[in-house]
């Protein structure tokens, strides 16, 4: 087991090096950040001076090396616009994004799993057909559109038309509390209210995927002999579905959810923009539009680390959930 982990960690490190090179190469092509920072009628000398001060005049490979050197120390340079170290900016905004993604995953699982299992149990029922059609809509409608519609309905139309209907906040983050040094709004009532609409927006896509996956897996599992045997033993239907079917479904669901976590952080870019949520995603978009290169680079590196770690965790989770995998590797 230990050998396995070490091997995966080394693979992960290799992937990160390759990715960093790709990221760097890609970012190098992003416009001319200097042009954003000085007035258009600055002289060339002034331009060169700024360029030199940012280290942009050195040859490409030198820039990459100094970049990697700094990166290993966690230093991605200072944001061109904010002056703060890029990585620090990102860390400041990370909790907001993470709590958003986390809540959306919880919502997606809590609603998506039962619906998917139900659709798998009674595939020909009206409810099941409705759920499946809904799931198609869920993953095909663009994220920002969903956010927009939710705002329209819950922050504009319903409160306007129905007196006394609460107006859900459509932008910004709510009150935060300090948890272990990190500011989280998940644990305040006001924070939750602000989290609700954006989390729902993010949750729709994931929920739709979970519904479809749960249904497909349930359809595979339910005709299996061991389910029939469980019924032959006289177990209640609740136990058959709630324990026997569910435990088998959890394996693919857990792996997909883990991987989706990473995807969601990417999708959060859109949701955060729609709801003016002060997370990493909004920071990224602003940085891209304003060509704030250090921040973009730092963000991409964080994403790469995220993905790699997530992949590793998902693999480990898989071996925890599926006893066949776990024990076989121990036996060999």
């Amino acid at each position: 087991m230990l050998v396995y982990i070490i091997r995966r960690l080394m693979q992960a490190a290799l992937v990160m090096v390759v990715m960093s090179a790709l990221v760097f190469a890609g970012i190098f092509l992003i416009g001319d950040p200097v042009a954003m920072m000085i007035s258009p009628d600055a002289s060339d000398i002034e331009r060169d001076a700024v360029r030199a001060s940012l280290g942009l005049d050195k040859p490409l490979w030198m820039q990459y090396l100094s970049f990697m050197n700094a990166a290993l120390h966690g230093d991605f340079g200072k944001s061109f616009l904010a002056g703060q170290p890029a990585m620090q900016l990102i860390f400041e905004r990370m909790p907001a994004t993470l709590e958003l993604v986390f809540l959306s995953l919880v919502i997606a699982l809590v609603f998506g799993l039962p619906m998917g299992i139900y659709a798998g149990l009674k595939p020909k029922s009206v409810g099941a057909k409705g759920i499946m059609t809904g799931s198609i809509l869920g993953f095909s409608l663009p994220n920002f559109w969903v956010g927009l519609m939710l705002i329209m309905v819950f922050a504009v139309l319903l409160p306007d038309l129905i007196p006394g209907w609460p107006r859900l906040p459509a932008s910004g983050r709510g009150a935060t509390v300090n948890v272990l040094g990190v500011k989280l709004s998940l644990f305040t009532a006001d924070g939750l209210l602000h989290l609700l609409l954006p989390a729902l927006t993010l949750a729709l896509y994931k929920g739709a995927l979970i519904v479809r996956l749960a249904r497909a897996t349930a359809r595979e599992i339910i005709p299996m002999d061991y389910i029939k045997f469980a019924r032959a033993k006289g177990l209640s239907e609740r136990r058959v579905v709630g324990v026997h079917v569910l435990k088998n479904i959890m394996i693919p669901i857990a792996t997909v959810s883990g991987l989706e976590f990473g995807q969601s952080v990417a999708f959060a870019v859109i949701t955060e923009t729609v709801f003016s949520w002060p997370g990493m995603g909004k920071l990224l978009l602003d940085s891209i539009l304003l060509l704030d290169r250090p921040v973009v680079v730092a963000y991409l590196m964080i994403i790469v680390v995220f993905f790699v770690v997530l992949n590793l965790l998902v693999d480990l989770l898989y071996s925890v959930l599926d006893p066949r995998v776990r024990l076989e590797s121990r036996a060999t």
């Binding site: 002999d225 061991y226 045997f229 019924r231 032959a232 177990l235 136990r239």
Partner: protein, 321 residues
């Protein structure tokens, strides 16, 4: 004495898009307490569906057709409420499936799967249920039961898994056990052990058993009575010795004749020509007619199951021949 199980005119049909498959089409038999009945037939004969019908485990598009009767003692099962059926399953009637690999849920531990069976029918504590499970494992001859209980199914060999399945079946001392080809997937030596265990347990606890199989040889040494099924109906039924030594139906004769044994060494193995008919397109009259060496004009009408000799029934116009 009331028989443990009394099946009369059982018809289980599957209503599919391509037509109605008459998997079981008029089956009658009784099983006495402590008796082992061997239900023999090829694939497609309806023997497995009969077993599932008794337990009420037929899934749509199949269902037991009106006019069928399955009685456990004096209680009619075809009209029983779902809750009553669930209470009976696993407690008064237990089932053992064919493939032990797929019968136990691979992601749950053995003790979980045994304890839940106990607690589904009895209000006992987990500790008590565990003790019962342990005792059941000992009863089927599994050494070091505590270790086995904490293990997962895939860590067992096939024979061991099947013993666990038998142990689960015995947890509530059922009146009837339906065993659906339980040794087909096992080695011959293990098969012998399981057969021996099964016979011993039935004798000891006076449990009735229906042993479903396609292998006449297996059931010849085990069962008290044999019922031979073909295309959804019983074609011959009687005491084992009678059926094996003095078969009346041409199909049974064919089956016995096709078992390789020392007597036929060097000779060509006898076969029954042709194939079982599709359950969707059963011919009119006797279903065996197209493969029968002694079929005549009269066979265009379906014969009834007639007691041609005492305790020995056959569904053939020419059985007394």
């Amino acid at each position: 004495m009331t028989p443990t199980l009394s099946v009369s005119n059982l018809r289980t049909h599957f209503f599919t898009k391509e037509g109605v498959a008459r998997a079981v089409d008029g089956v009658d038999f009784d099983v006495a307490p402590g008796e082992i009945l061997g239900l023999v037939g090829e694939s497609g004969s309806g023997k497995t569906v009969t077993g599932f019908s008794i337990l009420g485990l037929i899934d749509p598009p199949g269902r037991i057709v009106e006019g069928s009767s399955i009685k456990l003692g004096d209680e009619e099962l075809t009209t029983a409420k779902p809750d009553r059926l669930r209470a009976i399953r696993g407690a008064e009637i237990a089932m053992i499936f064919q493939d032990p690999m797929m019968t136990l849920n691979p992601v749950l531990r053995v003790d979980t799967q045994m304890i839940e069976t106990v607690q589904a029918h009895l209000k006992v504590s987990r500790a008590d249920a565990l003790a019962r499970s342990r005792a059941a494992l000992v009863q089927v001859g599994i050494a070091s039961p505590d270790e086995r209980l904490r293990a997962y199914p895939h860590q067992f060999s096939g024979g061991m898994r099947q013993r666990v399945a038998i142990a689960i079946a015995l947890l509530h001392k059922p009146k009837l056990i339906v065993a659906d080809e339980p040794t087909t997937a096992l080695d011959v030596t293990i098969q012998g052990q399981i057969l021996f265990e099964a016979q011993r347990l039935c004798r000891e606890s006076n449990t009735s058993m229906i042993w479903v199989t396609h292998d006449l040889a297996v059931v010849a040494g085990l069962a008290d009575r044999i019922a031979v099924m073909y295309a959804g109906r019983i074609v011959e039924m009687g005491r084992t010795a009678d059926v094996i030594e003095r078969p009346m139906h041409p199909y049974t004769k064919g089956l016995i004749g096709s078992v390789p044994s020392q007597n036929t060494r060097g000779h060509r193995l006898a076969q029954i020509p042709g194939m079982t008919p599709s359950l969707l397109k059963l011919p009119a009259g006797c279903s065996f007619k197209s493969r029968c060496p002694i079929a005549v004009e009269q066979c265009n009408t379906m014969p009834d199951l007639v007691e041609h000799r005492p305790g020995h029934w056959a569904r053939c116009w020419r059985a007394a021949a």
